[in-house]
């Protein structure tokens, strides 16, 4: 059978995740654990995959009504099918970083000339940002800077950085937290400022699906529960960690790692700093940047309209629909929780 055409209704809602269940999806883990989805009356089935490409393909094919996909992949998908719509992002900030060892004399992307830059994965989400950064610094990929995929966080990549096989490393924030967790490696972030706005994973659906009120209601409910989870986590990281470690115990073999991971995830969610902006909200300008970056790196050859994809009031309306719950009550709930 197909991925399920769970277009809402009694069958519940099928939503794809671009990555396995992990601390990365902390708000979702908490919403699930605390029963927020049931509170919202949504019956949501998360399908875990291993890459945003899977999600966008299935979306375009119409096999699923919605899914979370990395912003670059989502934007590329939109350039192929302008029926797609982005509603919110988790986290709403750039998750990809370019870092160098603390003691390196590289200060900026410009200094990478003649050096080797390790990336997590060829064709991975960090590549457009790397490409755009090099372009902006006037460097040519391969000619001026050697790009070497060395894998995401793990022994091989850590060793390659420590041994100096690569001079810098581009990956997602969990990669960086892992590599620095045990103190053997200290890093310095050299990601150009202008890319911070590029969002992480975004909830993508189709214009058609949004027309269907039942589906839209389900999506709103899901988003509300998700946002409540984000608020909960920001309010009580300890309880959030406990919950996460109950759901994904294999990520808590090393509690230092888990704690850092949770902390970074909460930090990027932006909820703690600013309760007025709805969780997951992304500015039009951020999307503009995303599309520019992708166009520069050659992943997008057409000239899609960022406004149609994520602007035009759709996302605004969606945000106001889900960011209407009692935030204070959720915070209170979080404070009194010990996670068990």
């Amino acid at each position: 059978g197909s991925g399920g055409d769970g277009a809402g209704g009694d069958d519940g809602l099928t939503v794809m995740l671009s990555y396995k269940k992990s601390i990365y999806w902390l708000p979702m883990l908490i919403a699930e654990d605390q029963g927020y989805f049931e509170d919202e009356g949504v019956d949501v089935q998360f399908e875990e995959t291993n890459g945003s490409g899977f999600v966008t393909q299935q979306l375009i094919a119409g096999n699923v009504p919605a899914g979370w996909a990395g912003a670059p992949d989502a934007a590329v998908a939109f350039s192929k099918d302008d029926n797609l719509r982005a509603l919110m992002c988790n986290p709403p900030q750039n998750i990809f970083r370019i870092v160098v060892p603390d003691d390196s004399d590289i200060e900026s992307v410009e200094d990478l000339e003649g050096k080797t830059l390790g990336i997590a994965e060829a064709g991975g989400g960090e590549e457009p940002i790397v490409n755009a950064s090099l372009e902006a610094a006037g460097l040519q990929r391969d000619a001026d800077v050697r790009i070497l995929p060395i894998g995401d966080a793990g022994p091989a990549s850590l060793n390659a950085i420590l041994q100096g096989q690569v001079d810098a490393y581009a990956g997602s924030y969990p990669d960086i937290s892992t590599l620095t967790a045990d103190g053997r490696l200290q890093t310095r972030d050299i990601t150009p400022e202008q890319y911070n706005a590029i969002p992480g994973d975004c909830l993508v659906t189709t214009a058609d699906a949004l027309e269907d009120d039942q589906v839209r209601d389900q999506l709103v409910g899901m988003a509300r529960a998700w946002a409540r989870g984000a608020v909960f986590a920001a309010e009580n990281p300890e309880a959030a960690t406990t919950i996460a470690c109950r759901v994904v115990p294999q990520e808590c073999e090393d509690m230092d790692f888990a704690t850092t991971y949770v902390k970074d995830t909460i930090g990027l969610s932006g909820v703690a700093d600013d309760a007025d902006t709805p969780f997951g909200h992304v500015d039009d300008s951020a999307w503009q940047t995303t599309f520019e970056v992708l166009a520069e790196s050659g992943a997008i050859t057409t000239d899609p309209d960022a406004g149609t994809f994520a602007g035009g009031g759709i996302a605004e309306q969606f945000a106001s629909d889900y960011w209407d719950f009692d935030i204070a009550a959720t915070r209170e709930e979080a404070r009194s929780s010990d996670g068990n």
């Binding site: 059978g1 875990e48 291993n50 490409g53 299935q58 094919a61 022994p155 090393d254």
Partner: protein
């Protein structure tokens, strides 16, 4: 000793030439201790290399650390869940792959037109990297176990198919003539002659298959899965818990070896005439 005395040994002596160079049976332990010894020596050297700092600990943890991780993992529910998932994928994929390969291989080997028409397609399919077709599999077989089972099945399919076909090719010609003279149908010829006489080869294919099925399942989990030992290895590696990752690999080896020896045992029981053909 001089040659002359060597030639005049007492008549009660027995020559000790062994049959076809095979060693005499020395009980089950004779088969167990040599590999155990080799493994122990290997582990000792590894441990020493780690202690002496010859091996980078980030990459290869000392066996003692792996052992500790392994033991502590045996308590964890998620470990057993992952094991269950991966083994289910492997065994299901293995069974499906072997049965399909057997059926299709037999058909191709039996009917020349089928071989001419479909063999290139089978080879083409085998050549196509399954990893690249993952999106297809996902669409057709969903996100759960099924797509991993399919991956495992497709990767263990071809070695069995090939050995089934070669097995049919190497059947004794005189025996075929005999069966034809008896008016055996293709099916009877297959069942009573071709199948038994190609069993040693088919089992070689099947033994290949069980190892490849496990590899296929793990690769599929690496490429996209949320559960299973592949995922566990990845996430432990991601946490730089290298010893933990190795512990899962050790577990994988153990389970894989168990599956392999089961197949090998069945082989030795079924093909009892092997050394006498």
């Amino acid at each position: 000793m001089s040659t002359s005395t060597a030639h005049k040994m007492p008549p009660t002596r027995k020559t000790t030439v062994t049959k076809a160079g095979r060693p005499a049976r020395r009980g089950p332990w004779a088969k167990v201790w040599p590999p155990v010894l080799v493994i122990v020596v290997f582990l000792l050297l590894w441990e020493l290399a780690c202690r002496a700092g010859l091996v980078n600990e980030i990459i290869v943890p000392p066996p003692s650390d792996v052992a500790v991780s392994f033991v502590s993992m045996l308590d964890k529910a998620y470990f057993w869940e992952a094991t269950w998932v991966t083994m289910a994928e492997t065994i299901a994929g293995f069974l499906i792959g072997v049965v399909l390969a057997w059926a299709i291989g037999t058909a191709l080997g039996m009917y020349d037109w089928a071989k001419t028409a479909f063999y290139p397609i089978v080879v083409g399919f085998q050549i196509t990297p399954r990893v690249a077709l993952a999106p297809l599999f996902l669409t057709w077989f969903g996100f759960g176990l099924t797509s991993k089972v399919v991956m495992a099945a497709t990767i263990c399919f071809f070695p069995v198919l090939l050995n089934v076909m070669v097995g049919m090719d190497t059947v004794d010609r005189n025996a075929r003539t005999l069966m034809r003279s008896l008016g055996a149908s293709r099916w009877e010829e297959y069942r009573k002659l071709v199948l038994p006489s190609s069993l040693p080869l088919i089992f070689a294919g099947i033994k290949n298959a069980i190892t490849l099925a496990l590899i296929g399942a793990i690769v599929a989990e690496f490429v996209g899965a949320s559960r299973g030992m592949g995922v566990l290895i990845k996430s432990l590696n991601f946490q730089l818990d290298v010893a933990g990752g190795f512990a899962v690999i050790v577990a994988l080896m153990i389970f894989g070896l168990i599956l392999y020896w089961i197949v090998e045992y069945i082989d030795s029981k079924v093909v009892f005439w092997r050394s006498h053909s």
